[in-house]
Amino acid sequence: MIRISENANVDTVIKLVTVAIGMFAFVFVVMVPLYDVLCDALGINGKTSGEAYSSVQAGVDDSREITIQFVATNNEGMPWDFGPSVTVMKVNPGAVNDTVFHARNPLPEAMVAQAIPSVSPARAAEYFHKTECFCFNQQPLDGESSAEMPLQFIVDMDLPRDIRTITLSYTIFDVTEMAGGVAVR
């Protein structure tokens, strides 16, 4: 019987366990953030930035008009009436535009909602800047009450020429439980 390099085995095990732990960590510290970065960069799922746009456009491009469609979807179990006040807007790239969505909570108790934006075509996502949006924060609403929720946006001057229609969809989720169960009154 020979003992072939007990130390070599220990060495191999340590290295491989390190690889395994590294790969586990890789999922959390690389894949998740990397996916978010890629989503922002490539507009995967039409995700837009979660933060207010603060730059200023060089001017207004009067030469073309972009059609903006607004779409609202309630996620399952979300009883609010929720929708855009106007469904279609024609805007010039570079200009600042305002609109509102209306929301009504029909239940007796207060609730908290989160609206998730998604832009289509996804390629347009990086050119759609929101300077103010109800989707940046969770939206509390008292029982049986309504609210107007403002949205202010700019379409980038650099929007590719072949995109003439942009659809902005909001899906509204009930996050009352996530927000701690108690709506902020």
């Binding site: 020979i2 085995n9 999922v27 894949m31 996916y35 490539l42 995967i44 799922n45 996620n75 996530m178």
Partner: protein, 526 residues
């Protein structure tokens, strides 16, 4: 080191506490066969329900539990452990090592499996039923909308992953450190090579799967939102992480099968394996490519067109090394001196059917066409050609090939050949028509279907029953061999077989290669 010289302990403790690679290999093989029967029973329920249109035997919710458990049990319980068992038995014998490098860990990695599968199967009797979200368990069906049993499922996946990682570490350590003097890497039998590469894949991707289910656990119980849009997450992220594990997983299943076939075809062609070096490089190339093609499972999820193109091109490239392998096997047979014993029949069956599965894989890689194929029965047919005809056929070939060496008795050749022909016909009858119904528009994972799919589904069910029944013959043949097969003491059971495993006594003694064998430096790989 006296304790290495006596035989096995008596009774149950032999199996519970054994650190012997042959005992552990045997347990892995029996366990995986039991799981194969269990997963097969689920498949029979699926095919019985799909025998004709309308709901007859089970409810839709239960049907989904069956498809889910069938997939999980077959992939994680039958195919993967069977190849680990084969690795346990054969790798030390093939490289001239006395045992695996880490025998106690070896015992562990096996014994955590049976309780885990017991737990997974017990979810069938839980309130809300077993997991019913498919073996790919896409969020949010597997998180927000999952039955309570999902927590047990997550725990099971963690343990299975741990077992696989331990088994892989053991294999890598054995291959790297325990080779007999003179057994250089490029002299190792191809089965050892494919397993070495597989083990590296496992160590790299099982933790990714663990990460995915950990995120699910956190989403379900600790209020995070990795996969829920409401909290800023994304269900599509789950699919990316899952398939980052899942695609290499497919090769984890098939690479050891390549290794087996690369041992058997030369033996019955009486001619050395053609293109050994290119086989090794092709295996490595497939392993590398498997990390950059995952999103071809997600062409319809809404990716930017640049992403679709990248994943399509990368996926198509896999056809090159895979083709090299097929060409090499056929060249090995070319101008050989062929005989067709059962292991060779199953290997040729593998070669034909795996190649068909490869062709449909190439078709599926074409993104625009995949918009029609995706999630249809065409996909089901494709992956059963690769998984069953690939992995299971080659595993069956391996059992027939090495069984005489293991137990010192010959199996019944006529019964083995009968088993092959029934399997081959049953398999094709079961899965070939699924290409047709898939192309004609039948989605996968449905418990009932429109009338135009009826005839082919009935054929498919009959084929599945035949294939299922043929496994009973297999079980009988193996048991009959062990109990009362014709004894043989030839060291070389097959006249054309090469390799160190054929230099030890038959049946293989409890301890082998306690002194390392001498490797003839002139002799190339086996």
């Amino acid at each position: 080191m006296g304790d290495h010289h006596h035989g096995p302990a008596k009774g149950i403790t032999r199996w519970l506490f054994t650190t012997n690679h042959k005992d552990i290999g045997t347990m892995y093989l029996w366990f995986s066969f039991a799981m194969f029967i269990l997963g097969g029973a689920f498949a029979m329920i699926i095919r019985a329900e799909l025998f004709q249109p309308g709901m007859q035997l089970v409810e839709p919710a239960f049907f989904n539990q069956m498809t889910t458990l069938h997939g999980l049990v077959m992939v994680f319980g039958a195919i993967m452990p069977s190849f680990v068992g084969l690795a346990n038995w054969m790798i030390p014998l093939m490289i001239g090592a006395p045992d695996m490098a880490l025998p106690r860990m070896n015992n562990w990695s096996f014994w955590i499996l049976p309780p885990t599968f017991l737990m997974l199967a017990s979810t069938l009797f839980m309130e809300g039923g077993a997991p019913a979200f498919g073996w790919t368990f896409y969020a949010p069906l597997s998180t927000t909308y999952a039955p309570p049993s999902v927590t047990l499922f997550i725990f099971s996946v963690h343990v299975l992953g741990l077992s696989s990682i331990m088994g892989s570490i053991n294999i890598i350590a054995t291959v790297m450190n325990m080779r007999a003097p003179g057994m250089t890497y490029m002299k190792m039998p191809l089965f050892v090579w494919t397993w070495l590469i597989t083990a590296f894949l496992l160590v790299a991707v099982m933790p990714v799967l663990a990460g995915a289910v950990t995120m699910m656990l956190m989403d379900i119980h600790f209020g995070t939102s990795f996969f829920s849009a409401a909290g800023g997450g994304d269900p599509v992220l789950f699919q990316h992480i899952f398939w980052f594990f899942g695609h290499p997983e497919v090769y984890i299943i098939i690479l050891p099968a390549f290794g087996v076939v690369s041992q058997i075809i030369p033996a019955f062609s009486r001619k050395p394996l053609f293109g050994y070096d290119s086989m090794v490089y092709a295996t490595a190339a497939i392993a590398f490519l498997s990390f950059i093609v995952w999103a071809h499972h997600m062409y319809t999820v809404g990716m930017p067109v640049a992403g679709e193109l990248f994943f399509m091109y990368a996926t198509m490239l896999i056809a090159v090394p895979t083709g090299v392998k097929v060409f090499n096997w056929i060249s090995t047979m070319w101008r050989g001196s062929l005989t067709f014993e059962t292991p060779m029949l199953f290997s040729i069956g593998f070669l034909i059917l795996f190649t068909i599965g490869g062709f449909t894989g190439l078709m599926l890689s074409i993104a625009p066409a995949d918009f029609q194929y995706h999630d249809s029965y065409f996909v089901v047919a494709h992956f059963h050609y690769v998984m069953v005809a690939g992995a299971v056929f080659s595993m069956t070939a391996a059992i027939y090939y090495w069984l005489p060496k293991w137990c010192g008795r010959m199996y019944n050749e006529a019964m083995g050949k009968t088993h092959f022909w029934i399997s081959f016909v049953g398999f094709n009858l079961a899965f070939f028509p699924q290409h047709f119904v898939g192309l004609a528009g039948m989605p996968r994972r449905i418990p009932d279907y429109a009338l135009q799919f009826a005839d082919f589904n009935m054929m498919s069910s009959i084929g599945a029953f035949i294939y299922g029944a043929s496994q009973i013959l297999f079980l009988y043949n193996v048991i009959a061999t062990i109990v009362s097969g014709k004894p043989t003491s030839d060291e070389k059971v097959w006249d054309g077989a090469e390799g160190l495993e054929w230099t030890v006594a038959t049946p293989a003694p409890y301890h082998t290669f306690e002194t390392p064998p001498r490797i003839d430096p002139a002799h190339a790989h086996s």
